[in-house]
C-alpha cells in the first residue's frame, strides 16, 4: 500500500507535529485477519474519521490504539514514544506499566457508554482522575463538575446511569474521557446505540470539542458529521485502507468501487 501524507487538515501551522501514528498494524483473531497492515497518522488538532461497513476492521483498529485489543503486529507511536505489538511475547510488568501510561493519555468513548452503574455521573467522571492520576478528591470533584457542565449535564451530577437517557449517558462518558485531560480522544461509534432523536445532542458535544482543536479519532456512520468536522476520512474495507483523503473528496467523489457502493447504501 502506498504511503502518503495523511495530515491534510485545515491546520495552518507549516509542519504539524505528528501526535499519533499507527504503523503497519495487523490483527488476527485465530486464522481470521481483520487488519492487514494499516497506517494512520494524526497531528495535533487533526480529526480522523474511520468509515467502513461492519466487519471492515474499523472498530478493531480504534481498539488497538489503546491496546484494548492486543495488536498482532505493528506499533503505535504516541508523542514519539513507541508501543510495539507484543505478538508472541509474554506480557511483562514493564509492558503493563507502559500500556497504563499510554491509556492515561488516550481517552476513549464507547458505543455502549459503559458507565459504571453503581456510581453516579459525578463519581463516574471522578474515578479516572482520582484512581489513575492520583488527583486529590477535592480537585477531582471540581474537575468533574466543570466537564459535566461542559457537556451540558451540570444539573445531573448526582444521577445514576439508569436515571439518564442514552444521550445523557454518552455525554457523561465523554466527560469521563475529558476529565483525564487526554492528548487524544477515541470515539468508537459513539451514536450507534442511541435512539435517532438523541444522536444530535451527542454530535453537538463532539462538534464543540472539534472546534476547540482537540485531536480525535472517530469511528462513525454519521456521514454528514464526518463531512463537517474531519480533517481526514479513512475508508476501511476488509482490513485494508481502501481510500483516504479530505472529507469532501472521499465522501463526494469516491474513486473505488467499494467506497462508492458503501456510500450509496448510506444515501438511501
Amino acid at each position: 500500500m502506498a504511503e502518503r501524507e495523511t495530515s491534510v487538515g485545515p491546520s495552518l501551522s507549516p509542519s504539524p507535529k505528528t501526535l499519533l501514528e499507527v504503523r503497519n498494524l495487523r490483527k488476527s483473531f485465530g486464522s481470521l485477519e481483520v487488519l492487514k497492515g494499516v497506517n494512520v497518522k494524526a497531528a495535533k488538532g487533526d480529526i480522523v474519521t474511520l468509515i467502513g461497513s461492519s466487519g471492515s476492521g474499523k472498530s478493531t483498529l480504534i481498539r488497538c490504539i489503546n491496546f484494548l485489543e492486543e495488536p498482532s503486529a505493528g506499533e503505535i507511536v504516541l508523542d514519539g514514544q513507541v508501543f510495539p505489538a507484543l505478538g508472541e511475547h509474554r506480557r511483562t510488568r514493564k509492558h503493563n506499566a507502559d500500556l497504563i501510561a499510554l491509556r492515561r493519555k488516550v481517552g476513549m468513548v464507547f458505543q455502549s457508554f459503559n458507565l459504571w452503574p453503581h456510581r453516579n455521573a459525578l463519581e463516574n467522571v471522578m474515578e479516572g482522575p482520582v484512581q489513575a492520576l492520583g488527583v486529590p478528591r477535592k480537585d477531582a470533584r471540581e474537575r468533574a463538575h466543570s466537564y459535566l457542565e461542559k457537556v451540558g449535564l451540570g444539573d445531573r451530577t448526582d444521577h445514576y446511569p439508569s436515571q439518564l437517557s442514552g444521550g445523557q449517558q454518552q455525554r457523561v462518558a465523554i466527560a469521563r474521557a475529558l476529565a483525564m485531560e487526554p492528548e487524544i480522544l477515541l470515539f468508537d461509534e459513539p451514536t450507534s446505540a442511541l435512539d435517532p432523536e438523541l444522536v444530535g445532542e451527542v454530535l453537538r458535544v463532539m462538534q464543540g470539542l472539534a472546534s476547540e482543536g482537540r485531536t480525535m479519532i472517530i469511528v462513525t456512520h454519521e456521514m454528514q458529521f464526518a463531512l463537517e468536522v474531519s480533517s481526514e476520512v479513512v475508508f476501511l474495507s476488509k482490513g485494508n485502507i481502501e481510500e483516504r483523503g479530505a472529507p469532501s473528496d472521499i465522501l463526494r467523489s469516491p474513486k473505488s468501487e467499494a467506497l462508492a457502493s458503501f456510500l450509496q447504501r448510506y444515501r438511501s
Binding site: 489503546n66 497504563i100 501510561a101 491509556r103 459503559n114 459504571w116 452503574p117 453503581h118 489513575a132 483525564m180
Partner: protein, 225 residues
C-alpha cells in the same frame, strides 16, 4: 407449655448464638468465596486448579462431616503440636470449630455464586476502567467487586438462610446454639414434642426476619441505582 416456660431465657440465648454464629461465619465465607472465584477464573493454571478442587471437594462433603472433621481434626492436630512442649490443651473450642467449618464450607458455595456472576460480567465495565488507565487491581476493587456483590445479593441472601439452618449441626459438637439448648430443655422437661415444635417456630421466625431484612436491603439497593 408451663413446664418449659422457665427455660425461655436459656432458649433465647441459644437463638442469639445461632444468629451470631451465622453472622460471624457469613462474611468470612463471602470473602473466601470472592477470592476463590477470582482464582477460579484467573489465567494462572495452578490457582484455577486449586480453586476447582476446593469447590468440588466441598460440593461433595456433607456439612455434618466437615463440622466433625474440623472439630476432631483440630483437637488431634493441636494435641500433637502441644505434646513436645509438654503443654496440656483443653481441646478445641466447639464454637470456633463450628465457625471455621461453616466459613470454609460456605466459602465454596459463595465461590460458585460469584463465579457464575463473573461469567456474565459485562466486559464493557472493565474496558472502561482499562481505557482510563486504571490498573487491573483498581478495576477489580473499585468496579468488579462492588458490582458482583450487588448482583449476587439475592443468591447470597438465600445462602445465609441455608447457613442459619445448617448451623443447627454445630449442636452435635456441643455448641450451645438453638438446637442444643432445645435438646437440653427437652431432656430435662421430658417434653421433646413441645420443645422441638417451639424450636421449629423459632427457626421460622429467624428465617422470616432475616428474609425480610434481606428483602428490604435489596429494595434499598435497587433504589440507589
Amino acid at each position: 407449655m408451663e413446664v418449659v416456660a422457665p427455660y425461655f431465657s436459656f432458649w433465647l440465648k441459644g437463638a442469639a448464638l445461632t444468629l451470631g454464629l451465622s453472622a460471624a461465619s457469613f462474611p468470612i465465607s463471602a470473602f473466601l468465596g470472592l477470592i476463590v472465584a477470582f482464582a477460579a477464573v484467573s489465567p494462572s493454571r495452578p490457582a484455577a486448579l486449586a480453586a476447582a478442587m476446593y469447590i468440588n471437594l466441598f460440593r461433595g462433603l456433607p456439612e455434618i462431616i466437615v463440622i466433625f472433621l474440623i472439630f476432631y481434626g483440630s483437637n488431634i492436630v493441636l494435641t500433637m503440636l502441644a505434646q513436645p512442649f509438654g503443654i496440656q490443651i483443653g481441646g478445641t473450642n466447639p464454637a470456633i470449630a463450628a465457625l471455621i467449618a461453616l466459613s470454609i464450607q460456605f466459602g465454596s458455595y459463595a465461590a460458585v455464586i460469584f463465579k457464575d456472576w463473573m461469567g456474565v460480567f459485562p466486559r464493557g465495565y472493565t474496558e472502561a476502567g482499562l481505557a482510563i488507565g486504571m490498573t487491573r487491581l483498581q478495576i477489580r476493587r473499585r468496579i468488579v467487586v462492588p458490582l458482583l456483590l450487588r448482583s449476587a445479593t439475592p443468591a447470597l441472601g438465600n445462602l445465609f438462610l441455608v447457613m442459619l439452618k445448617i448451623s443447627a449441626l454445630a449442636s452435635l459438637i456441643g455448641v450451645e446454639e438453638l438446637s442444643r439448648t432445645t435438646s437440653i430443655i427437652a431432656g430435662s422437661t421430658r417434653e421433646p414434642l413441645v420443645c422441638y415444635l417451639i424450636a421449629a417456630g423459632m427457626y421460622l421466625v429467624i428465617s422470616a426476619v432475616s428474609g425480610f431484612v434481606q428483602h428490604r436491603f435489596e429494595v434499598a439497593m435497587e433504589r440507589s441505582i
